[in-house]
Every structure is written in structure tokens, then in C-alpha cells.
């Protein structure tokens, strides 16, 4: 599955990304540094979602819940317990994994849109519960005090280098895990479940176990991203992290890049995030929502013209003339959505 070429590409990419802050005029405290950091963060988020939804075929709109739990883990450690975020991060990831299994175990029985809407509903429930749960700050949210810069507090103000490297570490972890999975037995199980649960079962794959463990892993990784998000923004409140908008970001980035592909989430983030950030930075002052209109239009055009995302375009470029079979294997319409 994994060709030598793709390995070279992977290591070359990591090396280049690692070198960036050390080049003259690299990251500093620039807006471009912010955009690069966000690309890495959102790519990691999208990839964590890709595990359960892309590889395993269970399209979830509920990942904002796990992302939010991770964010609250870090923020509670810092704000409520006056301690280091590092204690909150594993706690948040573990909590997210547990919650994801508790929610998914019954929900996996639902098919297609029923599953999708059930995951919407979970986001709404968690959002509104956190809004009234005073221990986690309720609607007021949790605000970070001003902390000393450095890795200990995972907080910087004068430069983005620390955040960038942190995001890169997160990216390496998430993408590294997915790389392992792709070539590992687990990867075949996931795809088998996606292509047809009954067939997978008949081949001796315990599909429930496969789906639940993929969900737990996916949720824990999403929670790590959430912790980063809280640290980066010095604040957490429910609409920020546990909202349908946030859930949609996981979905949109991956699908734009290419569902169920390794590079898809990175490509999707590399297009959508700069688009979102730069259009907002340079068009939003018009106060006219033009930036968001462009954003919406691009989503529509992509879905109409190339629903397999950028990876679909890459495939069709590589294999001219286009052979439909080649790109369709990536994400064939799931049978029995009804």
C-alpha cells in the first residue's frame, strides 16, 4: 500500500515544515505564522475525523464534542486547578475517548442520515449542557490568566514559533498514527467495514469492535487538537469549541481534500484555512459577509465539480485520460444508506 515515493514525500514534508521557523523570516509573530499554525492544527483535526469517517465510513458530525472536551481538559487544568495544561491534556483525551464510545455504541446502529442527525443532536446536547454547567464556567467560559511564555505553560505571546512547533508535533503524531494504520491490519479492517459491514463480518472482522476503537482513537486525537486550540486562544466557551460550525470544519476540510485519503486532510486545510483567514483579513472589513459568501460558493462549486476533493483532481491529473474506476474506489457511495 505504502510506496517508497509516498514515504519520501512524507519525510521530506516533515523536514521542510520543521526547518521553516529556523529560516530567516520564517514564522516570527506574523499573520502568515498564524495561518501556517492553523493549517497544521486543522489538518490534524480533519485527519483525526478521517479515521472514523473516511477510512471507516461512519460520517460523524459530532466531533466538536470531542474537540471541546479536549479543550476543556486543558483549560480546566490551567484555569480551575491553577496547574499546567499538560495534566489536562491526557485527561481530556481519555474523557473524549470514553464519551465517544458511550455515544457511538448505540448510535452505530443508525444508518446514513439517521446517524448524521443523531451526531448533530449530540453536539447540541453537549453544547447546551456545558452552557449551564457552572463547574466548567457555563456560558461565561474559562479565561486564561496571563502565563509565563514557554513550553511549561504551552503559551507564547511574542512569537508563534512555539505554537507552530507544537502544532507540527500534533500533526506528526496524528498523521503518523494514520500512516501506521494504513499499512497495518487495522487499516484493512477499517476499509472492510466501510465497504460492507456484512461482508466484513463474514470474513471474521468484529465490525463493532473495529468501529468503536476507531471512534475512540479518532475522538482522543480530536481532543488533543482541542487542547491546542484552547491554549492558542487563551479561552474556552461552548460556542467556540462545541458547535455545529466547528463540527462542519472537520467534515468540510476532509471532504474538500479527499475523504479517506492520507493527504486529503492536509490539502483541504492548506486550501480552506488560508482562504478563510485571508479573505476574512482583507475582505471582512467591508462588513458585508463577502468573505463568507466566497467561502460558501467554493464549497458548492467543489461539491458539484469534484466531490472527491482535491485528491480526486490529483488522481485525474495523474491518470490521463481519466479512468472513472480509479477515482471511484476512494469513496464509492455507501450501499444501504437508507
Amino acid at each position: 500500500m505504502k510506496s517508497k515515493r509516498s514515504s519520501t514525500l512524507w519525510y521530506a514534508f516533515l523536514l521542510a515544515a520543521l526547518a521553516l521557523p529556523f529560516l530567516p523570516g520564517g514564522i516570527g509573530n506574523t499573520f502568515h505564522g498564524h495561518v501556517l499554525t492553523m493549517i497544521l492544527l486543522y489538518a490534524s483535526m480533519a485527519q483525526s475525523w478521517n479515521i472514523i469517517s473516511g477510512y471507516c465510513g461512519q460520517i460523524s458530525f459530532g466531533h466538536a464534542v470531542f474537540f471541546g472536551i479536549g479543550a476543556y481538559g486543558a483549560a480546566l487544568a490551567v484555569v480551575t486547578f491553577d496547574s499546567l495544561p499538560w495534566y489536562g491534556v491526557p485527561a481530556g483525551a481519555a474523557a473524549a475517548a470514553i464519551v465517544s464510545v458511550l455515544i457511538s455504541a448505540p448510535c452505530f446502529r443508525l444508518k446514513g442520515h439517521y446517524f448524521a442527525i443523531a451526531t448533530f443532536a449530540t453536539v447540541e446536547i453537549f453544547n447546551r449542557l456545558f452552557m449551564i454547567w457552572d463547574w466548567v464556567g457555563g456560558a461565561i467560559g474559562l479565561d486564561y490568566p496571563i502565563l509565563e511564555d514557554g513550553w511549561r505553560n504551552f503559551s507564547w505571546s511574542g512569537t508563534k514559533n512555539g505554537y507552530y512547533l507544537g502544532a507540527l508535533a500534533l500533526f506528526t503524531l496524528v498523521f503518523g498514527i494514520v500512516r501506521r494504520i494504513e499499512s497495518h491490519r487495522m487499516g484493512y479492517y477499517l476499509r472492510a467495514v466501510r465497504e460492507g459491514q456484512e461482508t466484513a463480518e463474514s470474513l471474521g472482522v468484529n465490525s463493532t469492535f473495529v468501529k468503536l476503537s476507531a471512534m475512540a482513537l479518532s475522538a482522543a486525537l480530536a481532543a488533543l487538537c482541542g487542547a491546542f486550540f484552547a491554549q492558542y486562544n487563551y479561552r474556552v466557551d461552548p460556542p467556540m469549541v462545541m458547535s455545529l460550525d466547528m463540527s462542519m470544519k472537520f467534515v468540510l476540510i476532509t471532504i474538500l481534500g479527499g475523504l479517506g485519503t492520507f493527504w486529503g486532510p492536509l490539502l483541504g486545510a492548506a486550501i480552506l484555512i488560508p482562504l478563510q483567514e485571508y479573505t476574512r483579513a482583507y475582505l471582512s472589513h467591508l462588513g458585508s459577509g463577502v468573505d463568507l459568501m466566497i467561502f460558501g460558493l467554493i464549497i458548492i462549486v467543489t461539491m458539484i465539480k469534484q466531490p472527491r476533493g482535491i485528491m480526486g483532481i490529483v488522481h485525474s491529473l495523474r491518470k490521463k485520460p481519466e479512468t472513472p474506476a480509479a477515482s471511484e474506489e476512494i469513496c464509492e457511495d455507501r450501499e444501504g444508506e437508507r
Binding site: I132, S157, Y234, Y278, Y282, I294, L297, I313
Partner: protein, 421 residues
């Protein structure tokens, strides 16, 4: 293949936009760049756009010579020796994370001298944390969360009276009514949106009510943007408190009033935090149904006529052409902050953040656009001269009823019941 050309065209279009607007940043050299950070899109966009328009009006006053206006900075064109203010506008969409990254961009990329913003307290918090860490100025007009100025920040200054100040004023007024008018108000209901803003207001209201021995018989938070408020209003009606403190923005406010009309219930008195109540557009559409409600305000055209004549001139000449409505107490305060900043820069004699900060922290400023006429900041950044009055609306006119000093009408108490209007 058409797909690619379509995408490419879009991208080119976007990039052109980026360069175009990026390019506009160069050019004129004698400028002071001030960042503005408001919710220009999203749920609170109405207020955000009003705030921005108010700042544009203030810029007009500062940048051009207006000897006809009797207020600081008006007579001369520009600041210092001919510096003009240039606003660099940003939109945080009501999202704290966007506010934070836009604040960073404004300070680091656009090199703004200070930021004025951000309306929503939840966005002001992380954005001003950026400023504090970078030792840059952050000026805030309308955000009302008391927590903002309890953080001990050195570079943060806020004009608006906090929820805490307003809550005490409301309960003071109730005590006054009980004493002077024999109103007999003993119970209080709270009706507030379950958001950062509403929750803060309710918490302060509870504290203030405890002070004066008001019993809280209904505590009703509601979901922002709810499809209906029938259970909320039904809960209020069942508890039937004498007074209600409300904190609901635009659409929710009008829905609340209409729903109370439907169930034919009113408290004896309903006082609102700076909310939908004070939005002239909302009141216009509520018409007579909005009558007799009360609210804390620091600006109304009626008040301005008596105590802030200059504000009316600014409003008519510069604000109304942009916003198509009079100032409201949120938006006008943003203009005040820019005028104060301008005065501080003028006094410092140079664009030196530290010097300007010291002047802001220590001096008292003349401010014809503020109700009290002056502004001074306590450590932490709260405006200690902040003043708000209680108004009661009648036929879309905000009558000032308390405190005595500003009063222009007698209160209509209790509110006239729906079937007797």
C-alpha cells in the same frame, strides 16, 4: 476540466482582492493606524456595525477641522502636527478565537497603534489579553462584563458602566420607588439570554438584589435565538414577580415583549440591561407594544439634547448618514474611546504607547459625548465617571426617570396592563 478553470478563476479573484486591499495599507505617511475589531457578521452584527459607524463619525470629527463643534480635537484637522487617524477594520464574527487572531494581525501585521473593540465581552477578553501581553493599548467602549476590568490589566481601558454598576442602579431605583412611591416591590424575576453577557448580568443582579433584600422568585435564562419563548414567559407569569430585570438582544427582545403581550402578563416594572431595549430599530418595530419598559442607558437623543448637545450634532452630521438611525448607548461609547485616545495622544505629544498609557491611566478627560461629561480610568481600566440613567420608553421616546439629577419625566408606574392601553 471546467471545474479547474472555475476554481482557478475564483482563486485569482480572491488573490486580486488580497493584493488590492493589502496594497491600500501603503501610501499616506502621516497616519495613526487604529484597529477596530467588531462583530460585523454573525448574530451580533447589528451592534457591531453600529459601533463601527460610530467610530467612523469620530474619525471625521478628528481628521477634519470642525470649528463649529465645541469639543476637544474638533477645531483642528488631525492630531499632533497633522497626523490623520486611519481605521483598520476587522471582523471577529462574534467568535473569541477569531477576535484573538485578528487582534494579533492588527498589532503585528497592520502595526496599529491601538485597537478599539470588541462589543461582545467574550471576544474582548482574549483580544485584550493579546494586547496586554504585547504591551499595546486596547480600548473598549461597550463591553459590559465587570470581569474585564477586574483582571488588573495595564493596557486596557473601558468606558461603559459594568453590569455590576447597572445592577446596583436598578436595585437603587427599586428602593427609591418603594420609598417614594410606595411601590411595594418585593420580588424580582430575572430573564436573560444564556450567554456570556446574560449570565454576567444575572450574576450581578443577584448580588445587588441580595443587598437590598429583594427576593428572586424567577430565574429564567433562555437560549439565544430560540424559536419561541412561550415556556420562558409562562415561567415568569407563574412566578409573577413584581419586577423583572431583562437581558435580551434584538430579536429575542421583541419576541419576549410580544410573547408577554400574548399571555397578557406584565410585571409592575421591567428594567433592561443594555440590550434590544435600547436599539431604536427594535423599538420602532415594536411600536406601542414596547411602551413603559425601562432600561439602563448612557445615551438617548433626549438626554443628549439636554446634557450632550455636541453629541447630537455629531450624530446628525456624521453618524446618521452612515447608520440611518440615532446613536445608541453602545455605539456612541466607541466614539468616546477614540476621542479619549486622540486626546491622550495629543497630550503625550508623540506616538509613544507607554506615554499615552500613562496619560490614559492618570488624567481626567473632557468628553462631551459622555453623559457625565468626563472620563477617568481606575487601575484595571474601568471608567470611574461612567454613568447610566434609567429611562422609560413611551412612543419610542426614551424618558429619563432616574436619577433625580437627569430626570425629565415622571415614571409611569406600574406598567399599564396590555388590555388597558
Amino acid at each position: 476540466m471546467r471545474s479547474k478553470s472555475m476554481l482557478a478563476r475564483l482563486l485569482v479573484f480572491t488573490l486580486c482582492g488580497v493584493f488590492l486591499f493589502g496594497g491600500a495599507a501603503f501610501g499616506a505617511d502621516k497616519v495613526i493606524k487604529i484597529g477596530t475589531l467588531f462583530p460585523l457578521t454573525g448574530p451580533s452584527a447589528v451592534s457591531g456595525q453600529n459601533c463601527l459607524n460610530s467610530l467612523l463619525a469620530a474619525v471625521e470629527v478628528i481628521n477634519n477641522a470642525h470649528p463649529e463643534l465645541d469639543m476637544p480635537l474638533a477645531a483642528k484637522a488631525g492630531l499632533l502636527d497633522g497626523y490623520k487617524i486611519e481605521l483598520v477594520k476587522a471582523d471577529h464574527q462574534g467568535k473569541p478565537d477569531v477576535a484573538k487572531s485578528e487582534a494579533e494581525r492588527l498589532y503585528n501585521q497592520e502595526n496599529v497603534f491601538a485597537i478599539i473593540g470588541s462589543y461582545n465581552s467574550s471576544a474582548t477578553k482574549p483580544a485584550s489579553a493579546v494586547a496586554e501581553r504585547a504591551k499595546k493599548l486596547f480600548l473598549c467602549g461597550a463591553s459590559s462584563s465587570a470581569a474585564l476590568t477586574e483582571r488588573g490589566y495595564k493596557y486596557f481601558f473601558r468606558h461603559a458602566p459594568t453590569d455590576a454598576i447597572e445592577s446596583e442602579e436598578f436595585t437603587d431605583y427599586i428602593s427609591w420607588l418603594n420609598k417614594e412611591k410606595n411601590a411595594g416591590i418585593k420580588t424580582l424575576g430575572l430573564f436573560y439570554e444564556n450567554s456570556e453577557f446574560g449570565k454576567h448580568a444575572a450574576d450581578e443582579a443577584k448580588k445587588a438584589a441580595k443587598e437590598v433584600g429583594l427576593e428572586i422568585t424567577a430565574d429564567v435564562p433562555f437560549n439565544v435565538g430560540a424559536t419561541n419563548l412561550s415556556s420562558e414567559v409562562q415561567t415568569l407569569k407563574a412566578a409573577n414577580p413584581d419586577a423583572v430585570f431583562g437581558a435580551a438582544l434584538g430579536g429575542d427582545y421583541s419576541l419576549w415583549v410580544r410573547t408577554m403581550k400574548q399571555v397578557n402578563w406584565l410585571p409592575k416594572i421591567a428594567i433592561n440591561y443594555c440590550t434590544g431595549y435600547q436599539n431604536p430599530a427594535v423599538q420602532k418595530e415594536l411600536g406601542a407594544d414596547g411602551n413603559y419598559f425601562m432600561g439602563g442607558m448612557s445615551f438617548s437623543p433626549e438626554l443628549a439634547e439636554k446634557f450632550m448637545p455636541e453629541a447630537l450634532v455629531v450624530q446628525e452630521k456624521f453618524y446618521r448618514p452612515l447608520a440611518n438611525q440615532p446613536f445608541d448607548s453602545d455605539s456612541v461609547q466607541e466614539a468616546v474611546m477614540l476621542m479619549i485616545l486622540g486626546q491622550a495622544i495629543e497630550k503625550a505629544g508623540a506616538l509613544d504607547t507607554e506615554k499615552v498609557r500613562e496619560i490614559l491611566a492618570s488624567e481626567t478627560f473632557v468628553s462631551p459625548l459622555s453623559l457625565s461629561g468626563e472620563v477617568a480610568f481606575a487601575p484595571g481600566g474601568q471608567n470611574i465617571k461612567a454613568l447610566s440613567v434609567i429611562t422609560q420608553i413611551e412612543n419610542q421616546k426614551y424618558n429619563t426617570i432616574y436619577p433625580e439629577k437627569f430626570k425629565d419625566s415622571e415614571v409611569i408606574y406600574p406598567m399599564k396592563p396590555w388590555d388597558n392601553r
